[in-house]
Symmetry: C2
Subunit: 343 residues, 2 copies
DNA sequence: CCCCAATCCGTAAACGTTTACAGCCATCGT
DNA sequence: ACGATGGCTGTAAACGTTTACGGATTGGGG
């Protein structure tokens, strides 16, 4: 772990100036003989360029940050899986932040852009507050938001269409003959919570079904909280025949509770999740789920950011990824596995 | 995105020298009046310290790299989930690398430590080659390996005990009356592949069961390859009554094939996976799996590395995490869920 | 044979910090 | 009243690169 060689060491050994060393290492035009000497010296010394010094001078770190709400949520992991290779291919390193959807932490990440340790940021906030918007407006590096952002916010963003997604699911349940369709949602002060709640109401009304407050239960976007919410709902409304869950984790919690209480899925109660994570296909019974295109959104975000890093200027862009419904056993019964297109 | 203020800007505005500014910002003893002036100027200007310049001078980046074999494998994600908060709490940022278990990429990561863009590295290689050992010996920053490493390698490492793990699983299957226990393994030139293959043989022999080459099928550590391997095995040996799978993804592939071929799990064939990932509990039927303590290993690795970063010297340390068997429906039948201690 | 252009190279400044060192001023003791 | 003491502060160097600029060398044309 001794101090490594610098371009000074090389210059000395090769008998040239540090400027020449730098030129050779960067492939700038140089006499053959000099190139040879420098390369030889660098090889012998096992030289590796100091990234920090280079960044200081060149004002580029070749790093990009990804701030995810929760490292544990498979939907974000699906994004990560797409983002990583895209950035890597373009020569960027990925710095990971887990904010646990805490607003202060997200603001902190935005603020720390000023430290200039990354060239850009992809962020996926669950809530978008005034503070977010303020920081975004003055951000010291290009930012891409995964998720919806108020009209007029000047930032590139990639959004899911959870409105259409919920609609696909509710229509599917209706087509299967379900009429007492409940919704298990996450907090309404989150962007997806609000959107999905509203979409559920809309979808019911368009089908001519009454909107019944008692059929809506708010919990949080995690498995135990989902289970708890479903237990409460079943207590109050034993007659439900379908559960529209605001994400897969909630839906898995729902399956746990239904199994424990002796209800058959889907015969007694059909269950739909959202995000179509790995867990949906692997669950027991396998879970019908609305794919909101996590993978595609991750990829799109990475590509948008790369364009900005390459210097593309211009109006903020909005990319919307269409949803798809993956039908599985939790609504259609054992052995069933099929997909319906969205939009 | 204009150029931000530097300590020079602040010094000018506050009417002091840059040294004083630096001292104030770092909390070194300074006259009250100066502190006030500097803080005021910094606030007004919205100053944020440049991390790159700071790193160059202080020779610390407050970044740590985690090189995982595959961002898509839930076992590594479980590690990531533990590593992230530990590092964050200690003030480090996490830089993620996905090497896809390609040796050249791993060597590259090790090599790039010379760029000094991180203060330390956690790496989880599937194979450990001569090249790895060479790079490890001359690494320019502290490294912790998750996985086993040849005797005498001078590097901190955190290992699973897959030998005992396989034993737990095979004993469990034996206790359930299974006698034709096949193994579906990954490549034998990987560290886990070799260890688990040997352990399987040993476990059988200790139970007085014959080791039958025809009961061993080599594929790879992914779901489709697992499925393929199981299909090949069933073709050759239709009489197997248990499958010991070298990881959960293989086991899920096994479940797919068994379902398609009309075999009942566990009545006809019992299935055990390894790693006890999220997918195991969520699968259909739920999957009995040997936990090799991915989460614990990640946490331990992060903690070992932090100690080194704090300057702790001394002999390389080896931490071994004991396995646990999580019994679920794929061996014990519907509704069964219980855990047995390891060691 | 001389001059000019082209080519290559070295010197030095710059990126934004941290920090060793020395100077300054006020205070205190005698 | 004077030297010593100690607290603050400023100057300047350093971290390891990249790069503008000008000087030196080479080669070719007149």
């Amino acid at each position: 772990m001794a101090d490594g060689p610098t371009i000074n060491t090389i210059a000395e050994r090769a008998g040239v100036s540090i400027a020449s060393v730098s030129r050779v290492l960067n492939g700038l035009p140089t006499r053959q003989e000099t190139v040879r000497k420098v390369m030889a010296a660098a090889d012998e010394l096992g030289y590796v360029r100091n990234a920090v010094a280079r960044s200081l001078k060149s004002r580029r770190t070749h790093q990009v940050a990804f701030a995810m709400a929760d490292v544990g949520n498979p939907a974000y992991l699906a994004m990560l899986r797409q983002i990583q290779p895209v950035l890597k291919a373009a020569g960027y390193r990925l710095v990971l932040h887990s904010t646990d959807a805490v607003v202060a932490d997200e603001i902190d990440v935005l603020h720390s852009l000023g430290e200039r340790y990354v060239d850009g940021l992809i962020m996926s906030p669950l809530r978008v507050t005034e503070a977010h918007l303020e920081m975004l407006a003055t951000a010291r590096a290009p930012v891409v938001i995964i998720g919806s952002v108020p009209e007029g916010t000047r930032v590139d963003n990639v959004r899911a269409d959870s409105r259409t997604g919920v609609r696909l699911a509710v229509d599917h349940l209706y087509a299967l003959g379900r009429r007492r369709i409940a919704m298990i949602n996450g907090p309404l002060d989150t962007v997806p919570g609000a959107a999905r709640g509203a979409a559920y109401r809309e979808a019911l009304e368009d089908l001519g079904l009454p909107y019944d407050e008692n059929l809506v239960q708010i919990g949080d976007f995690y498995r135990p909280e989902g289970a708890q919410a479903v237990a409460a709902l079943l207590d109050r409304e034993p007659g439900v025949d379908a559960l529209m869950c605001a994400n897969d984790l909630i839906a898995l919690g729902a399956l746990d509770v239904l199994r424990a209480s002796g209800k058959r899925v889907p015969e007694d109660v059909a269950v739909v999740g959202m995000d179509d994570t790995d867990l949906a296909a692997a669950s027991w019974p396998s879970l019908t789920s609305v794919s909101l295109g996590s993978a595609e959104r991750g990829k799109a975000a990475a590509e948008l950011l790369l364009e900005r890093l390459r210097g593309v200027e211009g109006e903020p862009r909005v990319v919307t990824v269409p949803p798809r419904l993956a039908v599985r056993a939790s609504t259609a019964g054992p052995g069933y596995e099929r997909e319906e297109g969205g939009r």
